[in-house]
């Protein structure tokens, strides 16, 4: 039996970022959103662990009220309970980590915290470690394989310079990559069941975090100009190829990409 806490984020679809063409400011309200790609895999992994070992999967989401859309999906996939902490303010990862830590303490005990390795939008990849730091738990980051045996979690992490196989006693924090699994697609009956499940809402006061203070203020988010130079060289005449290739190599040198 494992009790697993999974974190999911109501993330921006970065491929459809709404950008004001004049100011290049990001219009967050107009940018479509979804459950974070890696978060979904964390949930899938939790569900698989539950199916294998028995137990319970609790999902926590910190985000705007509309995030209940993805919690419906969370229920449809098979979570036992889903909690939303509605907030419209920008929260840095530290604040979110504090919320998770408090939730863990108040609603635990949990054997495992499973999270996406990084969010789909801001992609900082530090939340899991910050939660582990606050709760003084071991962390296995960016896992692409998880095994649970003898009250220990073993996982393989894909880091910068290679693969690390770690083992940690429970409770532990594990964050996952996109490669770990292929998330299930809910079926009709799962969706109907999900519609009848209740999304629990908790306020920051419920978690005694009224005085939560951000350590970082996002002051300005602006899109980069997505302009390509479109310098076109004609090499349809085979005799030109030599010259054109030389030109290209020079351009690439100037760009500093060779």
């Amino acid at each position: 039996m494992v009790k697993i806490l999974v974190g999911v984020k109501y993330s921006l679809r970065v491929e459809n970022l709404a950008i004001d063409p004049k100011t290049k400011a990001i219009i967050l309200d107009e940018t479509p959103k979804k459950m974070g790609d890696m978060d979904k895999r964390a949930l899938e992994e939790a569900l698989r662990l539950k199916e294998k070992h028995g137990g319970e999967v609790t999902v926590l989401c910190v985000g705007p009220k509309e995030a209940n859309k993805i919690l419906l999906e969370v229920y449809a996939m098979g979570a036992d309970s889903a909690f939303l902490i509605p907030t419209n303010d920008y929260l840095d990862t530290f604040s979110v980590a504090k919320i998770f830590a408090k939730f863990y303490e108040k609603n635990g005990p949990f054997d495992l915290i499973l999270l996406g390795g990084a969010s789909t939008d801001s992609f900082t990849g530090v939340l899991g470690a910050r939660i582990a730091g606050l709760l003084n738990l071991p962390i296995i980051p960016f896992a692409n394989q998880i095994v649970l045996e003898d009250l220990k979690i073993k996982a393989e992490s894909a880091l910068d310079d290679g693969k690390y196989k770690f083992s940690a006693p429970l409770p532990a924090v594990v964050t996952v990559t996109l490669e770990i699994n292929e998330p299930r697609i809910p079926k009709l009956k799962d969706i109907l069941r999900a519609k009848r499940q209740k999304i629990n809402e908790l306020s920051l006061s419920d978690l005694e975090l009224d005085d939560l203070k951000v350590t970082i203020n996002m002051t300005d988010v602006r899109a980069y100009e997505e302009k390509r130079k479109q310098i076109i060289l004609d090499a349809t005449d085979p005799s030109k190829i030599d010259e054109v290739v030389d030109k290209l190599i020079n351009y690439l040198r100037e760009e500093g990409v060779l």
């Binding site: 709404a18 079926k187 009709l188 009956k189 519609k195």
Partner: protein, 426 residues
Amino acid sequence: MSEKFDVAIVGAGPSGLTAAYFLAKKGLEVVVLEKGGELGSKNMYGGRIYTHVLNRYFPEYTREAPVERWVRKEQLYFMTKNSAVKLEFFADDAFLKESFTAYLTKFVQWLGKKAEEAGVLIATGVRVDSLILEDNTVKGVIAGDDKLYADYTIIAEGANTLLLDNLNLKPMTKPEEVALGVKEVFRLDEERINERFGVNSEEGVAGLLVGFPSLGSIGGGFLYTMKNEITLGVVIRLDEPVKKKIKMYEVVEDFRMHPLIKKLLRDSYMIEYSAHFVLERGKLPDKYLYGDGYLVVGAAAGFELNTGLVVRGVDLAIESGKQAADTIIEAHEKGKQDKQTLASYISRLKNSFIYRELEAFKKAPRFLSNERLYNQYPEVVNEFLKEILTVNGTPRRLYSTFRKAMRNKVSLLDLIRDGLGAVRSL
């Protein structure tokens, strides 16, 4: 888990949701199955909703519905490649509340919320693959490995009638029976839209553009002002691009490059590109609209009205949803699901405005499939006006100018014939 509902509805569009709403109000257990991940995400149309049915069934819409602008100006453009003649109707206050512009995506979300409040279970992200057919009776739906039983099934799948076609519940749709609508949405600030179209923030414009927009093919262009956007697009019968060897995705951009349109869209930027079917064939024959255990509503039933000058769908969809709900409520009270009992759907439709209006425009498709309407007349009108408005010292008489404009384009006989045809079909 065995699920059984009184009514299963395939498709959360205006017709399906209206039916669901009225059924749930009567205490029936209703489930709506929608393939889109979110309500409204697969719904698309030009941009206008007529209010008469809303006044009757959802009078609170004036406060609640996501209205963009009330249509104050109706514009009709006859366009050639470089010029345009515009007819404008400026509505008085009484007319003002006859229609409004809105996004169907958002309208459906509103309707869905009402249905849920009435007790409907809406399941999004569910693709219905087939219907349960037992003893020649439709007994629910099949989605993947799951079956969902229901006493009544309402097919509200929209103009792209995949379920009906696959189950041979009606003949396969033919290319000449449908038109393809392609729409582009342009963001422009409210003030500039007001200024450019001569309206205030509450008022909007609905434009129909004939001739050049469909490259002289059967069909036309449309233009609606939203609060902060202009929607623009073309509707062309599906067999036309093939005949003319023109590509649909290019037609709409060619139209947009017309000097007049370019001016209207100046400083805006595109935020979405979409496409959807529009029916040209008119309603399905009665026998395909109902059967043992099921009814067909909305665009799937052919309840769209495209007269060339007026394009309507949502009001017909809502009305058919209401009639289907009433039919099922009555049948449910009798405890019957058979075809004979459900046949009262047709008599209800016949008493509603749907049949009256579809009947009235029955001849329209023939008149409207006359190419001259899209090809030659816009040319003639433009050339005629250009001729009489050009001042270059040469005296001209109206009739000879008219004849000159018509030359090589259309014969007087054609004109008379078409004129008579138009009158007969209206």
